[in-house]
Amino acid sequence: MAILVETDTRILVQGITGDFGSRHAKASLDYGTQLVAGVTPGKGGQFFEHNGHKVPVFDTVEEAARETGATVSAIFVPPPFAADAILECVDAGLDLAVAITEGIPVNDMIRVKAAMARKKTRLIGPNCPGVVTPGRGDKSHGGCRIGIAPGYIHKRGNVGVVSRSGTLTYEAVWQLTTRGYGQSTCVGIGGDPVNGTSHLDVLKLFNEDPETEAIIMIGEIGGTAEVEAGRWAAEHCKKPIAAFIAGATAPPGRRMGHAGAIVGGAEDTAEAKKRILRECGIAVADSPADMAQALLTVYKK
């Protein structure tokens, strides 16, 4: 078991013929991911070929899902069309839509989020590195890689990782892997202020997942999502958690790369979040170099 996706989950890629989408579709195929379909409107009937793989391209998500059994989409379409691409996944009844696209207008996401309420499809992202459930092969080959993370840094194991940032996820994963600790699933929930899945949502999934024994949660300045997750965990989470919060040195009021990474008030600074997480019994690393180390202070295997 893992969360959200397993190694045999069948995925499709929206925007597979674009520069960004094709690059990462190839990397996923090389990683051994069950990438079974692509969607590019107007290019239905063509094939996406790479290293002996021949992936059919469809005009619509609905057709791709029906013909190939894909249940998850990785969305690489440009910002002006991304909201529509997410809604197309909802209409097709997919289990999961993972929106990698960075730069979607906040008004588009507000409408998408409202439209997704009480629908079957879960959204991860947008502006996220995606989801990886590592495989059991050499350098975690054979895993389910959705998005843009480097596959080889992973190792299948028992630590769940959830983060708003891509590169910080890779740091945490690499720190774990080089210490011999594998991951159950790594989830990048994205750096935007309106997203589909929160830290708390992912903690709940990890808490229920028998394979996950411990959790690293990576957050940053802005909003209160990490604090909500921490408060819930203090009451309900049975598993040890370590955390890192980026942005202790960020000046207030400035948007630090991620649209959501902005200090607006007293409660969304890095210091405030770290203090509250510590009060919730979470092992907080002050340095991004110590994320795995912090986890090992509370997680003994």
Binding site: I110, P150, I153, T167, A246
Partner: protein, 394 residues
């Protein structure tokens, strides 16, 4: 992105939000003509800079005040002449001040009551909300702390937006009854229309005024726009005034780089926003001060990296550089080639610590080693951070 007061007024007039008549001028003569057109008397001349505290500011030529009440066109011309081309220092500009290249001539109004009205992106609820208060002209955070009962909040439905009944409810909460209520409802609706059609993330009207003539008007407003939506807001983008921004940030934005200037001495060049923030944090943790936030992104080209490096080197406060790359998508060798290209062009006399990890790391390290560049390799985050802090302190 910020806009000037006169640009806010242009948006108000385009969307039918009541505000005092005004004309912008960039010469003293034009200011005089504008004042004549507005009737000559009962006017204000206001320096146009992206900073608060203008009224109490001082120009570097000694002239006091960036806001003046005037009563003749000649006076407008004289005052504008003292402001234009001069640098205004306020408590928000820093000691270097801001160059005034435009002035706004506007009707001054007799205020009966000052109120507060803001529309803003409500992150916690994934929608937009309205905050209104009877305490206008004050800092809203202060009001929220001391007299929260004087604040009314209305959370908008994400698909319906601001409805007329909500406007009436807000008007009533602000004590705007009778004819004032109708005016307020019209103003609030117009403001919402402007907010949603222009992809704003905040419009703070402070004060919203009731004049002695019985009119409801937006006197001053602060705008914020959703950067992600600027691609479909050409009119808004046209209002950008790059002379008001940090020149380092302007240069970076031309190359598609995510850069924010800070006051420290250790520059950093990083891929990914989260890691870029964390790199600043780890510099501080080891006793240094970061000079910037710089995310070159996952798909940066050699040219972008080279330009990023040049921007860093152009900052006189920088005493050392830390390059921190975890190449997930980013090819480490592209980073290495970009650094080498920049140094060949502009030279390098500062300490440089490079930590490369991930995608194509061996090729990247080889490129740096063969370049003959005087750099120190960082073995992991902690090692890299402590090395650059030591090098700068030395």
């Amino acid at each position: 992105m910020n806009i000037h007061e006169y640009q806010a007024k242009e948006l108000f007039s385009k969307f039918g939000v009541a505000s005092p008549a005004g004309i912008v001028a960039d010469t003293a003569e034009a200011a005089g003509a504008a004042a004549r057109e507005l009737g000559g008397a009962g006017l204000v001349v206001k320096a146009q800079v992206h900073a608060g505290g203008r009224g109490k500011g001082t120009f570097k030529n000694g002239f006091k005040g960036g806001v003046h009440v005037i009563n003749t066109a000649e006076e407008a011309e004289t005052i504008a002449g003292q402001m234009l081309g001069q640098t205004l220092v306020t408590h928000q500009t820093g000691p270097e001040g801001k160059l005034v290249s435009k002035v706004l001539i506007a009707k001054s109004v007799d205020i009966d009551k000052e109120l507060y009205f803001a529309i803003l992106f409500d992150r916690a609820n994934s929608t937009h909300s309205i905050i209104a208060s009877t305490e206008g002209g004050m800092n809203i955070e202060e009001v929220a702390e001391k007299t929260p009962e004087k604040i009314t909040t209305v959370t908008l439905d994400p698909t319906l937006g601001l409805q007329p009944y909500q406007c009436r409810k807000l008007a009533a909460a602000l004590g705007l009854r009778g004819k004032l209520m109708n005016q307020a409802v019209k103003l609030f609706s117009a403001l919402w229309n402007l907010y949603s059609k222009s992809d704003c993330s905040q419009i703070e009207v402070n004060p919203l005024a009731v004049t002695k003539d019985g009119e409801v008007m937006a006197l001053d407003a602060k705008f914020n726009f959703d950067d992600n939506a600027l691609y479909r807001q050409k009119d808004v983008v046209a209002m950008r005034d790059t002379t008001e921004e940090d020149p380092r940030e302007v240069a970076a934005s031309e190359f598609g780089l995510n850069y924010i200037g800070l006051d420290g001495s250790i520059a950093c060049l990083v891929n990914g926003a989260g890691l870029a923030m964390a790199t600043m944090d780890i510099i501080k943790l080891h006793g240094g001060e970061p000079a910037n936030f710089l995310d070159v992104g996952g798909g940066a080209s050699k040219e972008q990296v080279s330009n990023a490096f040049k921007i860093i080197l152009g900052d006189p406060n920088v005493k050392g550089i830390l390059v921190n790359i975890f190449g997930g998508i980013m090819d480490c060798n592209v980073i290495a080639e970009g650094i080498v290209a920049a140094v060949q062009e502009v030279g390098l006399s500062l300490p440089l610590v490079v930590r490369l990890e991930g995608n194509n790391v061996d090729a990247g390290k080889k490129t740096l080693a063969e370049s003959g560049l005087n750099l120190v390799s960082g073995d992991g985050l902690t090692d890299a951070a402590s090395k650059i802090v030591k090098a700068v302190a030395a």
